[in-house]
Each structure stands twice: as structure tokens, then as C-alpha cells.
């Protein structure tokens, strides 16, 4: 039974890996796929000479326009900035935590704490100075690793970091700690920008598998709040259930 589970898990991983490869290829050609599909749709729609047809033609020309104006950014990965402006995915999320900016800054500044609330991080090793090594669990059971450096830091106020040149997952992030109104704790604002292996399309597909970056960051911040306010992360994993054998 265990062997069967393992092999079917392996098969699923292989299928997912193939899906990721397919999406990469799709993404490389998406500009031209958009133009071709859009043109075909527009022609089909116009031919029907009806209101519905007009709508289809509209969607088609939208695709053509999108294809033609798209940045073809998978072509040459030779930039020297970690995530160039206007590229990749940007996520910004805030949470208010019933703790002081000092407590939050101290907790976050020790990057080895990050995997305690960031679900997709397996571990972060401090390499010394401002350098650290990050290991993440990717959406398809794949691992991604990169080195990051702290590029900006104001004690109890903000920390900014980015992946070093040549990383597989180009990313940059910052976290800001601001006292909330009326002494009601601290507002923690996170800004992340990254270029996932699957690109913009990868993020769209990942959304279907509920690994969408925005909700990931939201849930990560919720866990950070739980940890700082209660010392633990609320869970029901491992509790009894009526459909488990006793």
C-alpha cells in the first residue's frame, strides 16, 4: 500500500513537472499564440454577423492587441537587477499585530524564523553578514534555492532584501513596521516582487491550484500574527475525525 502510494505520488509529480515544462514552452510562445488565436477568433466572430459574433470578434482583437504589446521577457535573462521594474509579480499585504515594532523587527531580522510562518519556505540559512541562503518548496513539489542579501535596513522600521544576481527565482522584498493608531500594535506591511519560474502565466495557473501569491502572503502574515500574539500557529492537523480508523 505504501509502495503504491509512493509510486502514484511520483507519477503525479512527474505529470506536474511535465505541466510546468509545457507552461514554460507555452509562455515562450504566448505572444504569437495570442496573436494567432485572436486573429482566428476575430475572423470567426465577424463572419457570424450577429451581436454574439461581434462580442467574439472583440475578444479576438483584444487577444491580438495583448499579444502584440506583450513584453517578450523570457527571451534573454541577462538582466543585472534582481527583479527589473515592471516585471514579475508584485504582492503587497498588511496585517496588524498586537506586538511592538521592536519585537516584530527582531523576530523577522532573524531570517531563520521565516519558515515558521512562510509556508513555502523549507529553511533559510544565515551565511554571515547580510547574506542568507533560501530553500523553497515550489508549486510542483520542486525545490528552488537562492542566495539573498539585505540591501536596506532601519532597525525597528524596515528590512529590504533581494536575491543575488544569477538566482533561479529572481526576487526582492521588503517589510515595514509602523506603529498602529492609538497604540494598537504594529502594522506589518510586506512588499514582494518576484519572477517565478512559470512567469506570469505560471502564477495564473498556480492560482487554480490555490497557490496564488497574494493569498500565500496573506496566510503567511496571518501565521506571523498568530506566532507573535500567541506563540503558536492554530491548527487542526492531526485531530480525530469520524472517517479515520481508530
Amino acid at each position: 500500500m505504501a509502495a503504491l502510494a509512493k509510486s502514484s505520488g511520483g507519477m503525479a509529480a512527474a505529470l506536474r513537472a511535465r505541466l510546468v515544462l509545457f507552461l514554460r514552452l507555452m509562455q515562450m510562445h504566448i505572444k504569437w499564440l495570442s496573436v494567432i488565436t485572436g486573429t482566428a477568433l476575430a475572423a470567426f466572430g465577424l463572419k457570424r454577423r450577429s451581436l454574439g459574433g461581434l462580442a467574439i470578434a472583440g475578444i479576438g482583437s483584444g487577444l491580438v492587441w495583448r499579444g502584440l504589446t506583450m513584453n517578450d521577457h523570457t527571451a534573454g535573462d541577462d538582466d543585472h537587477v534582481s527583479v527589473p521594474y515592471g516585471r514579475g509579480i508584485r504582492v503587497e499585504r498588511s496585517v496588524t499585530v498586537n506586538a511592538s515594532p521592536e519585537q516584530l523587527y527582531t523576530f523577522w531580522r532573524d531570517f531563520e524564523n521565516l519558515p515558521r510562518f512562510m509556508q513555502h519556505l523549507e529553511r533559510v540559512d544565515i551565511l554571515g553578514g547580510t547574506l542568507s541562503h533560501w530553500v523553497a518548496k515550489g508549486p510542483a513539489g520542486l525545490k528552488a534555492e537562492w542566495d539573498a542579501e539585505i540591501i536596506n535596513e532601519v532597525p525597528n522600521e524596515l528590512i529590504g532584501w533581494r536575491s543575488v544576481d544569477g538566482s533561479t527565482v529572481q526576487n526582492a522584498g521588503s517589510v515595514h513596521f509602523t506603529p498602529a493608531t492609538g497604540g494598537r500594535g504594529t502594522v506589518v506591511k510586506v512588499v514582494l516582487r518576484y519572477d517565478p519560474p512559470g512567469g506570469a502565466l505560471g502564477a495564473a495557473i498556480a492560482k487554480l491550484f490555490s497557490e496564488e501569491p497574494n493569498s500565500t502572503v496573506r496566510e503567511d502574515l496571518r501565521r506571523l500574527k498568530q506566532l507573535l500574539e500567541t506563540g503558536e500557529v492554530a491548527t487542526t492537523a492531526g485531530q480525530p475525525w469520524g472517517r479515520m480508523a481508530s
Partner: protein, 392 residues
């Protein structure tokens, strides 16, 4: 262990499951000595609360003996006898610190679901759907109690289970409903629904100084209990043409000073809007049958208070909001901040000012749960409150 599990709409089963274990450092394990079926469990039973899964362990009214504590639990010990309030609360967030326990920020691992539906999500509840955290409930031999330092209240050995069990939910819920009415000497309070919460709302309104309490229901045994126990005046809505006119006459043309909706989302009624709700709910176009809510808003006097302990879950329509606005009503509602009331109500019980066990009509064991859910739901056998002992 034996546990009462939700098995689909209209079906619960007693199932053998593994015992709960400590999962977090602030957890405790409680051996349940007495548990109850709550009227709000019937909303789960009837399939009106989304995100229930077959096999989920039910129950949020329970008490028992602490048999194990996690490494960070400081103020509970093995052997302590405790009642456990139904909202699971961290004790350290903005809301817990402000006494708004049932709005706790940190206890619900599925908070995003409630956020999506309601804008912001409140505390997790035991055995009350995955929307509310998916925690296993207390209609079982053992139950895991998270944040065990915060909510459970130790009970002296000389008070029997039946007198303190309802501190977990229905007693504070009825009490909060009455307290929210801001009762002043001379006030007339009308209470819709004479189930357990209604009975305690009536009794609490009396304790808080209401001069008259009018109890509204259609089941003679429930009206009798309110009349006999809390000296309420009674109104059988199935016997009168118009509840509004009747209440107006009973209050000298002014209307009740405060109105309590202790019914919630599965209201029954005899008017057109009640049938309209039934059809919409049956077609899953509406989660709640809001007949009582509409009536309460319509009947309350100008400048009065409407207090809503009855549970609502979704969207409702044809609510006379213009009436609420025009009369300048104060609306109070929400899940009960149980932890605010457990200590003071326990004192009242110890001083014998209050014996909440008067509502119990059925005493059974966990094995009888499937039949009892049905009896309670259908109000057969004059059933008002069922308590269950895990062992025979």
C-alpha cells in the same frame, strides 16, 4: 473513543475514532463528563451551515476533567474539573483583550473562508463547520481544547455537572441577549423563541430588572416553562391573527421596549413572508429564513433595542430596514462573548440565585445522539434540552 459525527444532512452517527492528542503547546485534553445538543447544532443537522464534512465531530457545549496538558499550559492541571466556552479564543489579540472574545483573530485556521464570506472572520468554534475552524467538537469521550490557559473555567467539586454545563453557551448567550437590551426599571421585553436560549434570555431579563417579559412561541410546553419558571406572559403566535397588533395591545399601544430574536435562521411563521423564505431556502436562494427578524424590527417600540442571539449565516432580503431607521432602533447581535460571563454567572449559581438545569428534558448517553437529534429537531416528546453522558 466514541464520538458523535455529522454524516450528511439529517444524519449523525456515533463512530469509533482515535483519541485526540496534544497538537500545540497551549492545548489540553478533556475527558468529557457531560455534553449537550444545542439548537444551533440543528442548523448543521439540517444542512444550513456550509463546509461541514462527513465525519466531523459535533458539539460545542461540553465540560469534563482535564487529563493531559501541553507544555505551555500554566493554569490548568490534570484532574481539574472545567467547563469550556464554545468560542475558541487566543486571549492575546486586540479583540480578546477588549472582551470581544467571539471575534478572536487567531483561533481559526480557516479564517480566510469566513473573511471571504463576511469581510472579516471571528473566533473558531468547536464542532461547527470548517468555516469556523474545523475543530473537533465535544460530543465525544475526549476533546482537544486549544489555548487551554484562556477560556476553561474551573468548577468546584460540590456543584453537579447539570447546574454548570450551560455556562459553556446557552446561559451566557441568553444573558448577553438580555444585557444588550440595556434594561431599565419598568421595561417590557419581548422574547421570540422559547428554546434554551430564549428561556435564559427571559430569566436574565427578569434578573436584570425587566418589569414584564412577553414570551413568544407556538409550543405549549415551552410557553408553559417560560410562564412557570420566569413568570413570563405568553403569546402563542399560531393562535393570534397578528403578532404586531397583539403586542401593541399588550403594551398599551407603545410596543415592547426591547425585542430579542432567540430564533435565528430557521424561523417558522404563519405569514406570507415566512412561506416566501421557506421556498427560497428550499431552492438554496437564501441561507436564512428571516421571518422573526422582520417581525422583531417591526414590533419594537420607537427608540427601542433589538437584540439578536439567534444565528444568521448568510444573505437575507425583505428586511424592513426603513422601519429600523425610522424608529431609531439600536441593533445588537453576534456570537456570545461567553468568557465575559462565566465567572459572574457561576457565582450566581453558587449562591443559588440561578439553577440552569431547569431546561433539561432529556438525559441520555452518547449512543442515543442520532435519535435525540431527530427528537430535538422535530420537537417531539416535549423536548427542550438534551444532555448526554459519554458513559452509561
Amino acid at each position: 473513543m466514541k464520538a458523535v459525527c455529522w454524516w450528511g444532512k439529517g444524519e449523525v452517527r456515533v463512530v469509533d475514532t482515535p483519541d485526540p492528542t496534544i497538537l500545540n503547546p497551549h492545548d489540553a485534553i478533556v475527558r468529557v463528563t457531560l455534553t449537550a445538543i444545542c439548537g444551533s447544532d440543528l442548523h448543521l443537522y439540517d444542512g444550513y451551515v456550509p463546509t461541514m464534512m462527513r465525519g466531523d465531530i459535533l458539539g460545542h457545549e461540553f465540560m469534563g476533567e482535564v487529563v493531559e496538558v501541553g507544555s505551555d499550559v500554566r493554569n490548568l492541571r490534570v484532574g481539574d474539573r472545567v467547563i469550556v466556552p464554545f468560542p475558541i479564543c487566543c486571549g492575546n489579540c486586540f479583540f480578546c483583550k477588549n472582551g470581544q472574545w467571539s471575534l478572536c483573530d487567531n483561533s481559526n485556521p480557516n479564517a480566510w473562508m469566513l473573511e471571504t464570506m463576511q469581510g472579516f472572520g471571528g473566533a473558531a468554534l468547536y464542532g461547527y463547520s470548517h468555516l469556523y475552524g474545523g475543530y473537533a467538537g465535544g460530543q465525544a469521550e475526549y476533546v482537544r481544547v486549544p489555548f487551554a490557559d484562556v477560556s476553561p473555567l474551573k468548577i468546584p467539586d460540590n456543584i453537579p455537572d447539570e447546574k454548570v454545563l450551560f455556562l459553556t453557551d446557552v446561559l451566557p448567550t441568553g444573558y448577553q441577549a438580555a444585557e444588550q437590551c440595556n434594561i431599565k426599571p419598568g421595561d417590557v421585553v419581548a422574547v421570540w423563541g422559547c428554546g434554551p436560549v430564549g428561556q435564559f434570555a427571559i430569566a436574565s431579563a427578569r434578573l436584570l430588572g425587566a418589569e414584564r417579559v412577553i414570551a413568544i412561541d407556538r409550543f405549549p410546553e415551552r410557553l408553559r416553562l417560560a410562564q412557570f419558571h420566569s413568570k413570563a406572559e405568553i403569546l402563542d403566535y399560531s393562535e393570534v391573527d397578528d403578532v404586531y397588533e397583539t403586542l401593541k395591545e399588550m403594551t398599551g399601544g407603545r410596543g415592547p421596549d426591547a425585542c430579542i430574536d432567540a430564533v435565528g435562521m430557521e424561523a417558522h411563521g404563519t405569514t406570507i413572508d415566512a412561506w416566501y423564505d421557506r421556498v427560497k431556502q428550499a431552492m438554496r436562494l437564501e441561507l436564512d429564513r428571516a421571518h422573526v427578524l422582520r417581525q422583531v424590527l417591526h414590533c419594537c417600540r420607537k427608540g427601542g433595542t433589538v437584540s439578536i442571539p439567534g444565528v444568521y449565516a448568510g444573505f437575507i432580503d425583505k428586511v424592513p430596514f426603513g422601519s429600523a431607521f425610522g424608529k431609531g432602533l439600536t441593533l445588537r447581535m453576534g456570537q456570545t462573548h461567553v468568557q465575559n460571563y462565566t465567572r459572574s454567572l457561576l457565582k450566581r449559581i453558587e449562591r443559588e440565585e440561578l439553577d440552569p438545569s431547569f431546561i433539561i428534558t432529556h438525559r441520555v448517553t452518547l449512543d442515543d445522539a442520532p435519535a435525540m437529534y431527530q427528537t430535538f429537531r422535530d420537537k417531539q416528546d416535549e423536548c427542550i434540552k438534551v444532555v448526554m453522558r459519554p458513559a452509561a
